[in-house]
Amino acid sequence: MSKLGRLNRGETNIDFLKWWKIGLAVSALLVVVSLGSLLTRGLNLGIDFKGGVSWEVSAPDVTVDETRAALDSVGEGSAKIQIVGTDIIRVQGPESTPEHTIAVTKTLAELANTDPSNVSFSTVGASWGGDVTKSAIRALIFFFIAILIYLSFRLELRMAVAALVAVFHDVLISVGAYSVFQFEVTPGTVIAFLTILGYSIYDTIVVDDKILENERLVGQSGRLTYGQMTSLSMNQVLLRSINTTVVSLLPVIALLVVGAGIMGAVTLEEFSIALTVGLLAGAYSSIFVAAPILVWLKEHQSKFKVIRERLQSQGVDVTHASARVDLLGVDAGSPAISAGSTKTSRDSADGSAPMAAPTGVIPPRPRKNQRKR
């Protein structure tokens, strides 16, 4: 409870410097697994990418074997037959003539004991999937460029680079999950992957904005390394990250469980699996990928390198997160600055960080946008 309470007040003191190492190792492992699976197993591409015909009909009580037997008469005995959702028979075959397509449609209608107009089918030319993929990749490249420019402008170049690496990581892992589990890739999946981009960027921006705010306040005062400051920022936005992920995931999980699982809507399943994987990856990567990369990039910047080296020479432990610093208190001119305290254990830090205790006085914010009261 008390931990939750601290989380609720943004007062956790998790040593992200330590967790980032673990996080990066996990990410590296996942990326390697994803790449390995993509190279060896590849993706299970739906007919939208290979070309072909797919039929769907709601047919309760009809088995795959019965369907195969019935389709043998129209020469589709070797087609791929699945039961998707709860009672939908899906048949997928290679490209063929319209007459043949109609013949199969009629056979399926007979089998399902329904009217041919209740059979859905879709035929796809082999080049269509290529067009969709090509346009998606083109959109992706432009998206990366636009976001890079936008974030460099609104935040800063290093943050933009770190954010894009995180996005790339998310997409790679999501696609990797599709390869590992051999889920079918459909246009719906592509849409979901594209959503992941937006979501991951969104999450990273919120985190970066906080870091930027803290950097202005304390990063230049030289009492913390960039990494320590970032770890602190992470602690401050942790609850937000968790809450955001929960509120984004709940509707998507509802899609997956209620829409796809219970009610058997196939298209929803396609969307929601990719979205669930992507949302989780996005939340994870804004904390465990984008942030450490940003720290790594920043600590190579001379300004922050100097701070780090100076702190190191003072015998300050820079490999761990510092004790909690009340950033606002620092600026309020509190004399008791000992952020460089070598105490690193979370517990001791929490209780005894000698930071500006609230004195009942509102510390003046260093911002200029104060309204007149």
Binding site: N8, R9, G10, E11, V57, S58, P98, I102, S117, N118, V119, S120, F121, S122, T123, V124, G125, V132, A139, F143, I147, Y150, G188, V190, I191, L194, T195, G198, Y199, Y202, V206, D209, V237, R240, N243, T244, V247, S248, L250, P251, A254, V257, V258, G259, A260, M263, G264, A265, T267, L268, L275, L328, G329, M355, P358, T359, I362, R365, R367, R373
Partner: protein, 515 residues
């Protein structure tokens, strides 16, 4: 009155949302469902060869005429680059629809055997006819009275609804005689008995519309050289000029997809390939239309069916149903979560979703009724995803608020302060989403576009409601004495200033001040 400053936007947004929702309900506007939700046929056609814009537009016109012929309510035919996307919701005869859109239209030159001009006023009757027979309602030019065409009546050997119903390949009968209609704005204005096809559009090189010095619009086709081009044209022109038995009227009909576009009289024995002029009662539009049709005829575009999708009405309905139920369950789940976490502020966040939903529903319905923009399953997914985006704005703000209060600010002063920094974060994040949505919309095809549109729309709405609704409503809450003395109702920590006071409620037994 000063107390109420800054709340105008709250009033405005609530009134706008309420009014637009009421308007939508009263006007009976409903979102137009995409065919993945209501069943129908969707086809993507890709031209086999390189073509220019005019040719594609002409092909779209032809396809539209053909789809109108099978009597479908709202076919949607759009261009995406050089591809043509045809969506026919709720069509009954799906196979015929598929067959019709893919055929290549041919431009023909056919000698006119006889012609009967038809007065469109006379051909239409203003009585509604037998209600049991299908009727096609057309509005002749700009006249306000709508007229009804009785398809059982024939004029000049053609059924009156031929312009909307079209002709089959047998009726067009390229190898022999046929009776073909001339149409104007969907009305039958002439009937032509024509002979076998003398020449096809492939004899043409190009065509253009000219404005002569006299102020008359003319059309100049240019033929190819050789027997397949100008030679063939001169052969039939000669027959018409002499008004021989094959061309007794001296007129040569230009036919595209079974419709007579023009039937100029031939007034010379032979022509040079690039010095032919069709003159008559053209205006700028009709002249350009004919030139475009001739150009199209010169290089009729062949289409390859890239993708065809036939969705049964039942499967579509099931998907819609599942999407809505899942959306509702998700909504209830996040509402409970938000209210458990942020109490009254959480309730405001859920109400913000309500304001957004009212606006979104109105906009989608309006676009569906006026622009034919359909809501697809991909779009619904985009909207469900945006629930998270919208609530995130609240989370960002509320967390900022909590942090500021923890740093010793009073709830009231933190309300304004935090909004400034939180809104700056929200704008950055939302703009990044908008950039993504816009790029997806511009650069992709098919279902991705629908998704991008709705994601972009709801993100823009989030920006609007965050500023116009969330800011004042939270301010309002923090003005309430009742809530201020019970900060746990707001899901906020106790103000540090009052930490020895009553505000340190029993709600947080562990809220020892740790710093």
């Amino acid at each position: 009155m000063r107390r109420l400053r800054g709340f105008g936007s709250l009033l405005a947004i609530v009134v706008i949302a309420g009014a637009s929702l009421i308007y939508t309900l009263v006007a009976g506007n409903k979102p137009l469902l995409g065919l993945d939700l209501q069943g129908g046929v969707s086809v993507v056609l890709k031209p086999v060869q390189q073509v220019d814009n005019d040719t594609i537009d002409q092909a779209i016109t032809i396809i539209r005429q053909r789809i109108d012929a099978i009597g479908v309510a709202e076919p949607e035919i759009t261009r995406q680059g050089n591809n043509i996307l045809i969506q026919i919701p709720g069509v009954k005869d799906k196979e015929r629809a598929l067959e019709l859109v893919g055929q290549t239209a041919e431009l023909q030159f056919r000698p006119v055997l006889a012609n009967v001009p038809i007065d469109p006023q006379e051909a239409t009757t203003t009585t509604s006819g037998n209600p049991a027979t299908p009727t096609t309602t057309v509005a002749p030019d700009a006249s306000t009275t709508s007229t009804t065409i009785d398809p059982t009546k024939t004029v000049g050997g053609l059924p009156l609804d031929v312009c909307s119903a079209g002709l089959s390949a047998e009726e067009i009968n390229a190898g022999g005689q046929a009776v073909l209609p001339q149409c104007q704005d969907g009305l039958l204005v002439g009937s032509y008995a024509v002979g076998p096809v003398a020449l096809t559009g492939s004899a043409l090189e190009t065509a253009r519309a000219n404005l002569a010095d006299s102020g008359q619009w003319t059309v100049s086709p240019t033929f190819k050289s050789g027997d397949d081009g100008i030679g063939g044209f001169n052969a039939i022109a000669g027959q018409c000029f002499t008004k021989g038995s094959t061309c007794p009227t001296g007129q040569l009909a230009i036919v595209l997809d079974g419709r007579v576009l023009s039937a100029p009289s031939i007034n010379s024995q032979s022509f040079k390939a690039d010095q032919i002029e069709i003159s008559g009662s053209f205006n700028e539009r009709t002249a350009k239309d004919l030139a475009t049709a001739l150009k199209y005829g010169a290089l009729p575009v062949e289409f390859e069916q890239q993708q065809a999708q036939v969705v049964s009405a039942t499967l579509g309905k099931d998907a819609l149903h599942a999407g809505l139920i899942a959306g509702l369950v998700g909504l209830i789940a996040v509402s409970i979560y938000m209210m458990a976490f942020y109490r009254v502020l959480g309730l405001f966040a859920v109400l913000k979703l309500g304001v957004e939903a009212a606006l979104l529903w109105s906009i989608i319905s309006w676009l569906g009724a006026n622009n034919g923009l359909a809501l697809t399953l991909a779009g619904i997914t985009g909207i469900i995803v945006s629930i998270g985006v919208s609530l995130d704005s609240n989370v960002v703000y509320y967390e900022h608020l909590k942090e500021d209060i923890n740093h010793g600010r009073s709830i009231r002063s933190a309300t304004d302060k935090s909004f400034v920094s939180a809104f700056s974060t929200i704008v950055k994040a939302d703009v990044a989403s908008l950039i993504g949505a816009a790029l997806l919309w511009w650069l992709t095809v098919g279902p991705v576009r629908g998704f991008a549109f709705y994601l972009g729309l709801s993100t823009a709405l989030d920006l609007l409601t965050s500023w116009a609704y969330m800011r004042p409503v939270v301010k309002l809450a923090t003005r309430s004495k009742f809530l201020l003395t019970r900060p746990w109702l707001l899901g906020l920590p106790a103000e540090k200033v009052q930490e020895r006071g009553m505000a340190k409620s029993s709600n947080r037994p562990n809220a020892e001040v740790s710093q």
